[in-house]
Amino acid sequence: MSGITDTEILKVEPGENLTYNVQPLLHEIRHALATLLDDGGNTVIDLQSLPLAPGEEQKLLDELGHGEVYARLHALGPTEIIETRYPGVWVVVHYNSSDEVIGKFIEVCDIPGLLRSQQEDVRQGLEQLQTQLA
């Protein structure tokens, strides 16, 4: 009987541009940036809703690169918010408390909404500060 150690492990070669979805996505981002300049309209693209071949998502992220801003939030697990080399194009990645990805978006906007302080949180913060000073 042959053992599992004798079995050759099949290595699948990584394909390149298999779905051809990277280029159209970059064009979609280009259109979204033009809209942002024209009338301030924001665009959000959910990366998990698109078919991408292994390696294609990384290719897209490599194309977008890193710009001047990198932020890490801690709200229900971490969230990374990175401005790409194209100002106004942000990559937002949500993780759960076990550091597993639960959402991956490209946002085309001045600033992703999650970075702003939220009214409810500000109100709660004010109450806490008042209590502390009382």
Binding site: G3, L10, K11, V12, Y20, S49, E100, I102, G103
Partner: protein, 362 residues
Amino acid sequence: MSKDETLGEALRRQGISRRGFLKFCAATASMMALPPSMVPAIAAALEKARRPSVIWLSFQECTGCTESLTRSHSPTVEGLIFDTISLDYHHTLQAAAGSAAEAAREAAMEENNGNYILVVDGSIPLGNPGFSTIAGISNQSMLMETAKGAAAIIAVGTCAAYGGLPHADPNPTGAVSVGDLIKDKPIINVPGCPPIPVVITGILAHFLTFGTIPELDELGRPKAFYGKSIHDRCYRRPFYDKGLFAETFDDEGAKKGWCLYKLGCKGPTTYNACATTKWNEGTSFPIEAGHPCLGCSEPDFWDGGGFYKALSMPTEDITRSAVYAIGAGAAAGVALGALNRAKKKRVEKAHEKVTIDDLDKG
């Protein structure tokens, strides 16, 4: 969380910031396959959502559907969705058993009459009530009784949705689906063997958010998750279009990641979200791991004629053999008898017996 507390109130009580809540809504929208532009509407609805009562019944099943959900490793979003429902009865997960468990089910039914969600996994045997019982109650009786006061029914897994494996030919228990028995309630079919966990929670989230059932296809499946075929969203689709196929599991085509159609992939006739939602926290799905799609979210997928036969091939070799027999002027019955005998011999030959000694040698 008390039944009167809204989800927004419950999250704030747990110290979750507004940012955290908005992140939860973004992930929930993605999970429900809704466009990100819906996030504000989801946030507004979830803020006010109240805790629905859920009764989960398991009939002829393997517990794979519950395993899929409870081992989904996404404690934040799916855990929160689950925290916001009142799972009043799930006999695999609950500590109580027998009459105490049944009393809990009856209490939940009475208290939430007309408003609770009934989740069912597993098929229902009609051949003999004794084939599958819980606390001495037949599956059919329990389903009919519990369905009466339900607002909606979610049939989780291919067994509950279409009969699944128990329904496969020759269907020894007379297994039927939920939809075969219940005709007067909205039923959402969530097939898959098992279904993708986020699809299960996505539907619960949809109900929680909008208080309605999502748009369904002609087989009763939510279009958001089952609206596109695996084939349409498969990253190997360009190879299919170019006619580049793997012929065996270890040839050059397989190594290059070519289309698995000829190895029996049922992607072209299977509607599910595997190709985009993927499994194991979005790591991959069967085709990405080099295996053809089995078509597990389709009715009667076990009887489709073989997992490794291309869709274009006849489901039974018997058809071709019989045609040859008629062509040669032989009686078809004789030819079929010969074919069956040959098949039996092949099976006997293929099944080598392994002894304890063989295992020791390995």
